[in-house]
Structures are given as structure tokens and as C-alpha cells.
Symmetry: D2
Subunit: 344 residues, 4 copies
């Protein structure tokens, strides 16, 4: 299968290329980048020297449509909608990483992102977390891969919501993130001199992944679930380490909490439920498509603490996109993705 | 004033020495270390070369008592109790950093730490956070400096408890910590190769600073306050970044939340309340005795989020010890401590 | 091919497992570890959870010999010699990572490492850098993979020595290394709190990789070459960044220097000669078997500066071992190794 | 003494402010910044909140001259020359950190920096390393503080040159630097995601500090000394770790080498000669004005290896500027500077 990667020179695009290059059934034939158009991939990014005989090209969705069997879009919200619309109209299966097609309610999208650039396609994509929407993804031709904070939070939270174990208050998600989630943005706070040895919360209770988590959490719960999302920027390149706090409706023991997770994710190749008492770590998932989760209960006060760790560029972005496409095309979901993490 | 530092070769002991060396009224005359006994300070620790003409000596509290006007103890729980008891019996003013004298209820101490090694002194020390117990510290001769997680959590939390704004559920403290809080412990997880690029929760809802936070939070609230404390080990040398989550009893706006903090800490030299919307960062307090705090409200769900950042070796340990002693001895609390943070 | 990994719970052993798991022709069937004997691999090391249904076992070379078709040894010098001797006597092809079989002159080995534990095998192995000894490795059944400092230095240096371009003075190798090269050693200087933000030279002009570099450099030059090796410990997990300085016998231009490297490594899959003016970086090789090299000339003073970067756990250890075995067994050398680096 | 800091919002300017705030004889009264003009210092940089009641202002040298007793300039080359010229004409003592006044030969300046913006002042300043030019600095009113790479290299090298111990070949300086040396520059390579876990040489044998080192090395040697300078960017915020390699004219033992350093720097408060065999580290000088040095000899090949470590923002920039001014004004050189390093 020939695939295109739109927006291939950003961190998620390059990560997709890394994965697609080892995928036995996918061949990258188009990689777009406005800044790097014309440059051989290995010249622009020395890590890829000798690995791919490709040149970046400008984005021209009309011309790309006929050259590929499927497309990944790592374009930003807004830009993505327009390009994806062209490809979808031409019948190309698409996995999009922007927020443009993740929502079901246009009012929610408008409130957080503004006017939609392809309203005719709004709501057409499957929300791209295979562990939540595997049936819908099978045979689908359009998926909107979930955000990195959302993936970690939902894989920790959904089993408890499906089991109707949450109390009435909002769920708290303290979501620590590596800086690659911000892309290659040239801002002071992403400089090594500013970030090393540092940690700082940002967009406190005001991050655009919150409504996405709420949408999917509410679907899982069958009722409206509120989420207070507090992202924290870590001096780490890759990773989301989410701590999810909820007060159960009725007391829950640690063993029962573990059982809920273990049962929910028993057959999943990429969600690893850790033994009771063992907390996930970013190192154990680095560079891989795994999401490790575990559950703890504060025996004294009843608080349920569910921890999740994943690599934001893999399971939180590009790996998940490939997993979605594998499912959409009927491949084994693990194709190209079952690699051991890079540890240490 | 001649001072002793017991347990001076650990990270908190060395940090005390760094501070005491620049303190205009304190002179370090005794530094103890079992491992380094006999070695000149500057040979054992090259950063101190040329700064202190002192040798480490073995701990002998009886002999030390007559040589100093005050003592800091950075000994571990248990060992601390015995040494402190000797010094106190001899009338030496002491600031202790162990947990041995932080508690008021012997049963709580016993449940978390086991048998006490100096029960006759139990409950005699003032809990060492000057911002909470300034009046008691004045003229006192015995203080038990607070733990690093506890200091950050309490400086964020207490103003809201004193104002009776907390709802009935437990308070959640997601407390990210630099690795120096663990001292120079030789364990795999503290190795650079294991910790860099990593983050991992530990002692989830089971950390020994939780009961200490509960004791002081409950005193501030005038009722029992439960705390779910989840420490997270960061790839950072210094710092505590605590995120405190509570559901207010009645809705609270962001401005009102800010005003609570601003009012409570208005005259404090070392607690800086940041402007609304600005989150504290570890870099802005690195190497200093400041604790920066700010408050946020999730307008959609009502959650109150209070953030605090401090340097665990300074305001979370050695700086606080000096601040306590300054107060006990009637010095200006800022003596030796009002240094600009090391940023970047 | 069934393979054993002796000493599989250290960093190089685990990295071998990571590589062998994705190798299409190798199957790990024996992994030894004295400390972890009996434990499932995925329990002992959470990054491997779900990837390998193997248990660590104690080292018993006699019993292992009949169960495998080839063996990798990551044991320490001394221990390695004894185990490897058993396996070799039983006819098992072995790639060893210790220094025990890298030398040709017993006196040199004795001077740097002491008494040899299997003198009958001394000098039997091919020195394991395929780029230098490809012909000898073909069909060989015993290789001694080179050290990490040595691999970087030699891939930078050998082309110039073979072209007889070096002057008479010693070659200087300033070799910056990530901490994983020290293994999981519990020493103060490897702690995150000691190493982060730090850099420090060690074993200055006294490191045991120096004689190994000299041996191979001298073979390439056809005369004795002296090497002053100064290793520097970096706050980095993976990588060797070697700066090699030599004064050419006759002046050499930058283009000519580049041409020497380009010509020497033209057909190598894993040595990438960067364009003139572009310095190698650790990030561009992280997690991969590549060694990137480039040459610079100080036009004002004539100094030739050759830079090399590799991942010490891959091209500097485990990847190189697999590359050697691929060659020994007649596989394509790239099997299991041609993966894109993890960047960022 | 009232002082101005020109260019006070960059890293070196802020570091100057940090030092001046604790200096008993200096009071900062003017801080300039074009980007931050009008902002209170503590609002623009939260680490300074509560420490300085100052506002940044636009640079207007004419008006500043009458308001201060001395000035520090952290402006860039070119801009610095013009502002400094105004202040010097008005009789204000100045310590400048740019390269504009470090050189003695206009042709060398022109070759590396282009046209000079204040040629009438060229060559008027004392080169600002007190350890090299103490006599000239006494009573001087104009100093050009040395660059960070230059300070480390020269404090390692000069004692051997003065003792006429260097052979005829060029000196090699492999100079590893923390990223704060680049200031708050928004370039990809300074991003945390690009630099963490990375190391990369830059401006290989083409860095503008090389001619400055050569000028001062040649003065010390009494003959022309060539220097091959290879800077290496480290994943570290602060520090220069220079490795200086030279081939002595005649063989030199390790003890003799140590004695050369020890004798040369015996009375220096800020240059610490480490015991034989102990290598300097960045951690042991972090945040301080110390430069630690030590000498090693490769007994097998004769190479002399001199290592130096300093904090590029302190002894490599702002601390050195204060040390220069202290000397110029007749203060104790240690005033405001004798602080213990921040370790860990």
C-alpha cells in the first residue's frame, strides 16, 4: 500500500515515517512539507540519511490523491480539514491527527477551535482509539486519531466508567507531558535552558483536549462526565504520564480496581495492565506503541488513582494512526508496531 | 552564633552548609558524617573547596553540646531522636529535619514510623513552617522542620482551609519531586540512565508525608481533612511542584481564589503569590528559599487547582531550617536566605 | 537460529534482546542472569512485558551449549572467558562483548586486565568491527565485539591511517560518552542528582579501551600508533561522541579529508559520512546501529578533526554483536538492524 | 556605587543582576531591555519577583551616564561599541562583555567580526581576566571581559605557556559548553527536544573565541601560539568544560604538571587547582565564580591534558565582569562573588 504523510517534517510526521519505514505492508511515497519542499528527507533530517529515498514536496492534495492508497495527515487544525476534504472526496482512506474531525457536536468544536473548514465532513470520522472503537474502525475509511493527553486519560478512565464506578464529581486528570507534544515550536519555554530542571503547568483547566476526553468519557459512561485537565510540561522529550483521580460512587478495593483494568484490556496488544502496586513509567514505553496502566486506591480516603504512561509521539500520535489504518485496512493491528521500547 | 550540622554530608546537610556559610550571624563549627569523618569538607566535596576550613567528625552529641550555640540535625528518623534528645537535654536549641518530632499524636507516628526513640521529647517541637507557626517559633528552642511535600502542599492549601472553603471530600495532592529529595541513595531508580526522560509515581497514596499534611491541614481547617498524596519522581535534581485539587463547598471564582492566597501570604518574604493565570515553575525558585503559589479554578466544573513550587533542598529542607532558627533566635527571618534563584 | 544471551539483564544484554526480538532469523531461547534467575523477562523489566515469553536462568554453559545455535556473551571480563571457553569447546559460534578476546598480544592484555581466564583461546577471535574485518568474519565462529569508545574512534581514524596521512605524534581522542556505557552500576557519580547538568572526564589517558584502539589503529597504519584517550562522562543515557585530533604528516584540505572518509565507507550500510561542514549528533543515531562521521580541517593550523557519533548500546555494543553474527552466519549484515533512529 | 546593566534581560544580564543584588557595594539602578522596556523586572522574570524594585528601560546611553557610577554592558558586538563609546566619553567606568574591545590587532577583529563601530576606542580596554591582567585592571576604567571558552582555555593553558613548556604544534581545545552560552536564541538546535540526550560540535575550528585565546596565549608565551578550538554543545544549561591538549617540548611528569598549575594559581581566590588525578566537574562550580583546573599527563605518549570547568554565566561572563569591576574600583575582588556552588 502506497501512503502519503501530509505535514511530514514535524515531529509526528517524522515519527510516522520512522514507523512506516519498518511496516511490512506500507510504503511511503509522498511526504509533504512546505518548509522543506524539494529537499531529500535524509538531508533535511540526518537521522533518516540512508533510510528513505524520498524528497519532501509541497502539499497539493489533488495531485496526491491519485498517487496513494491511503493518507496520514499531521497537518494543523484548519489546514488539515481542507486537505483531508480533498482526499476524502477522491476516495482516499485517511487517518487525520488534527482535532478537526474528532468531535461529534459542532458547538463543542466551535467553542474550542472556531469555525470549521470542512463542515460537510464534520462528524464523519471514527474517533481513533482502536481500544475504544475497534468495531467502527473495521472497514472505515476515515479516522480522527485521538490526542495524546486524551489517549492516556481515556485508557485509564474508560474501564471504570463503563463499569459505572465513578461518583458524581468531576474527574481530575493531572497529565504530565514531554515537550515533543508541542512540536518544533520556537518559544522560550521550549528551550533547553528554560525547560531542563523545570516543570510547569500550562492551560490549567483550559486545554483543548479536555472536551475530547469528556466526549469519549461520557459515551463510555452513558452520562455526562466532567473532566478537569491540568497539563504539566516536563523536561522530557517523549511521554504522557497521566494521573487520573476519581471518587468512586461506592468504595472500591485495590484488587477490584486492578481487576476492572485487567478485564477491560485483557486482549489488547498495546495496553499493558501492570501488576498491583507497580506504577507505569515513561521509560518502559519510550519509542513504543504501548500504553501501560495501573490502578491504586487510597484505602484511607477512598480515592481511586489510575495511572497511564505512553509515548506521545507513538501511542499518542503516529503509532496510533498506523494502528487505526491497520484496522481500517484489515491488517493485523500490530503490523509495524510491535517493537520493544527503547530502555534505558 | 556557632552552629553544628549533624548529618552534614548528605544533600540537605551540604545545602545547610552552603546557606550557613553566607549567613551573617551563623558560623558552622561542627559538621558530622560517619562516612566522611576526618576528611576536610573541601576534599570530600569539591564544590566546597576553598570555602570552609572544617573537617567532618563522627557524631558525638555529648561533646558537641558544649561547642555550639545551636544545632541543625539532618539525621534520619530514629537516629535523629537520640542525638536530638542529648542536645536538648543540654539546653542546645535544635532544628530537626527528621519526622521524629513533627507529630502531635503518638499513634500516628507509630503507625507510619514505628517505635519512637525519644518518647519523652515527643510533641515538644514546634512544627517548622514559619508561615504557619510564626508565633510559636518566636523564642522556641526546638523546631521540627516540615517535609518537602508537606511544605508545598500546605502553603497551597492552608489559606483555603482557614477560609473554610473546602468541600467534604479528600484533598488530592499530585506532588512532583526532584530526585535530591531521596538523598544520595544508591538505588537503580535514582540512576541517571533510569531516571532521565522518565517520570514515575511512587508510594501512591502511601507516602509518610501524608499524615503530616493531614495533621497541619486539619489544624488549619478546625476539622479532619483527608489527603490523597501521590508523589511523582521527576528527572529533575531540585524541586517540588505540587498540584493540589479540591472541590470547594460552594463555587469560587478565579479572582476570589487568587485573593484568598494573596491575602494569606501578603506579608510573607518567601511565599510569592503569582498573578492570576501564571503557573509557578521550578526554575523560578531553584536554589532559593521561595515558594511560589497560584490558584486556578475550572470554571466549567468548579474544581479549585492550587499550584506550588519550591526547591526541596531549600524551602523544603535546609532553607526552612535556617528560617526557623532565625525566628527562634530573634533574627530577621530573611538573614542568609534572600538570594535570587539560579535561573536559567 | 536459536540464540543465547549470557548476562542478559544488564543494559547491553537487554538491548540485545530488543534487537534479537525483531530479527527475522534469530530467536532468543536462553537469557541468563544470576540476580534475576527464575523471573519472567517482562516482570523483571516492564518495558519487555508482553514481548518475550522467556525466563532468566542461571548461567550454566554446559547445558546451554546443546540448546542453542549461537551465543552472545555480555558477561564481564574474566567471567566471560570461562563461559565462552565452554561454549566454543562445544562448537557453538560465539560473539563476545568482553575485552577477553579482543587482543592479539598477551602482554598487553595482562598489563591492562590481569591474568587471562582462558589462555588457550586467547587470540582466537576476530576483532568485531565488520567495517574493519569483514573478510575475516565471514564464516568465522568466534568474534570479540569492539568496545564503544574503540568503535567510534576507529571508524573516524582508520581511513586516514590506511591512507598514511597521520603525522608522527600521538592521536588524541576526546570521547564523550553516555552513562549507559557504565552499565547499571550503583555509584554516586551515576546518580541523576550527580550527573544531570554535569560533565566530567574520567580515567584520563588511562582507560582500558586505549590499547585496543592502538592495536587496531596500528594494524591499519602498518606502524605503531599511540593514542591519548580521554573519556568524558555526559548527562546522556546513550551515545559516544568522539572527537579525534591528529596532525597530518602533510597539509590536507577539508575536501580531501572528506573524500578519504567518503571513499573508505562508501559501501557501508551503517557508517554514514556526513556532508562537509555537518557535525554528527547523538540524536541522529539514537537507538540505531549507525555510526555517523565527518571530517574537518583547521585551515589555519592544519589540525585534522574527525568526529564520530554512535549509540554505545547499539553500534557500540549489541547492534555490532548482531552485525558480526549476521556476517559470521552468512546473513545479510543489515538483518534486524536497519531501523530508523529515535529522534527526537 | 550605582550601576547600570545594559542588555539586562538576556541570560548574562539577568545573571549580573543576580550577583549585583547580593553585592554589598553595588546597587543596580538602571537595567535596559528593548523588548521588556517598561516592565517591572519581577513581572518579566518571575525568579526576580520580590527581589528588585526596578523597571526595564530602553537603552539611552546619554541619559544613563549621569545616573550611574559604573556600567556593565551585555549588549551584542556592534551595539555594544556604540553604547560603550558614549559612556566612556562621559567618563563612566565600563566593563563590556562583547568582543568589541577584547582585541589588540584591528585586523584580527575585522577578520572575525567585520567593521568596528567605535574605532577610536579600539584597544583601550584591559582584557578582562583578573588572573591574567590584575595589575592593569587596578585603577583602570575600561575592561573587556573575556569570553567563556577563552576564560576556561586560558586558565588551563597560560601557566604552561608562561613556563615555556609547550611544543611547536597547535594547542587543541575541546570545549564543551552549556546552552546558556548561546543566550535565549530561538533556534531549533537549542530546543529541549533537540538538545536533550544530544551532543554536537559546532563551528569546528572556526569559532570566534579562537583568535581571542590565541592573542592571550601568545602574550603569555611570548611567541605565536596556534589554537584549534572545537566547541561542543552539551545538554546542560550552565558550564564550560574545556579539555586542553598539548605536546610539551620536553617530557613532563604528572607531578611537575600539577606543580605548574598549583604554583601559578596559588593565591587566586577563584581558580582552584584540584589534587592530582581529580578531574573538574561542572557541578562543583555551578552558579559560582570558581574555575577548577587540573593537569594530567599521558605517561605513555607524553600528551599533556589540562582540564578546566567553570560556569559560563558566572566566571565565563557576569561573575568575571563583577570581579573586574571590583578590581578596577579597588574593592576586594571577592565581594559579591564568594558563594558556594549549587550542588547537587
Amino acid at each position: 500500500m502506497r501512503v502519503a504523510i501530509l505535514g511530514a517534517s514535524g515531529y509526528t510526521g517524522l515519527e510516522l515515517l520512522r514507523i512506516v519505514l519498518r511496516h511490512p505492508r506500507l510504503e511511503p511515497v509522498v511526504v509533504t512539507s512546505e518548509q522543506r519542499a524539494g529537499q531529500p528527507v535524509g538531508e533535511a533530517f540526518p537521522q533518516l540519511r540512508g533510510l528513505a529515498a524520498l524528497r519532501f514536496e509541497s502539499l497539493d492534495p489533488d495531485k496526491i490523491a491519485s498517487r496513494v492508497d491511503a493518507a496520514f495527515s499531521c497537518l494543523h487544525a484548519g489546514t488539515a480539514a481542507k486537505a483531508v476534504a480533498v482526499l476524502r472526496k477522491a476516495g482516499v482512506p485517511v487517518v487525520d491527527l488534527s482535532a478537526d474531525f474528532r468531535f461529534r457536536d459542532p458547538a463543542v468544536y466551535a467553542a474550542w477551535y472556531g469555525e470549521h473548514q470542512a463542515p460537510e465532513l464534520f462528524g464523519q470520522a471514527v474517533y481513533g482509539i482502536p481500544e475504544l472503537h475497534r468495531a467502527e474502525l473495521a472497514g472505515a475509511s476515515f479516522a480522527a486519531a485521538a490526542g495524546c493527553h486524551a489517549t492516556a486519560a481515556l485508557l485509564a478512565l474508560v474501564p471504570f466508567l463503563r463499569a459505572d464506578l465513578a461518583g458524581p464529581g468531576p474527574v481530575i486528570v493531572d497529565s504530565k507531558t514531554g515537550v515533543s507534544g508541542a512540536g518544533r515550536s520556537l518559544e522560550d519555554r521550549y528551550l533547553f535552558a528554560e525547560l531542563d530542571g523545570n516543570v510547569q503547568a500550562y492551560k490549567v483547566a483550559a486545554h483543548r483536549h479536555a472536551p475530547e476526553i469528556e466526549q469519549e468519557a461520557s459515551r463510555a459512561a452513558g452520562r455526562a462526565i466532567g473532566v478537569t485537565l491540568v497539563p504539566q510540561l516536563l523536561p522530557v522529550i517523549r511521554g504522557i504520564a497521566a494521573s487520573v483521580y476519581l471518587q468512586p460512587a461506592t468504595p472500591l478495593g485495590a484488587d477490584a480496581a486492578h481487576a476492572v483494568l485487567a478485564e477491560a484490556w485483557r486482549d489488547e496488544p498495546f495496553v499493558r495492565v501492570l501488576p498491583p502496586g507497580q506504577a507505569p513509567s515513561l521509560q518502559a514505553v519510550r519509542g513504543s506503541n504501548f500504553c501501560d496502566v495501573s490502578a491504586f486506591v487510597d484505602e484511607r480516603h477512598g480515592t481511586l488513582v489510575v495511572l497511564a504512561a505512553l509515548d506521545n509521539l507513538v501511542k499518542g500520535a503516529s503509532g496510533q494512526m498506523v494502528q487505526c489504518l491497520n484496522r481500517m485496512l484489515g491488517f493485523d493491528e500490530r503490523e509495524g508496531l510491535l517493537e520493544a521500547p527503547l530502555a534505558p
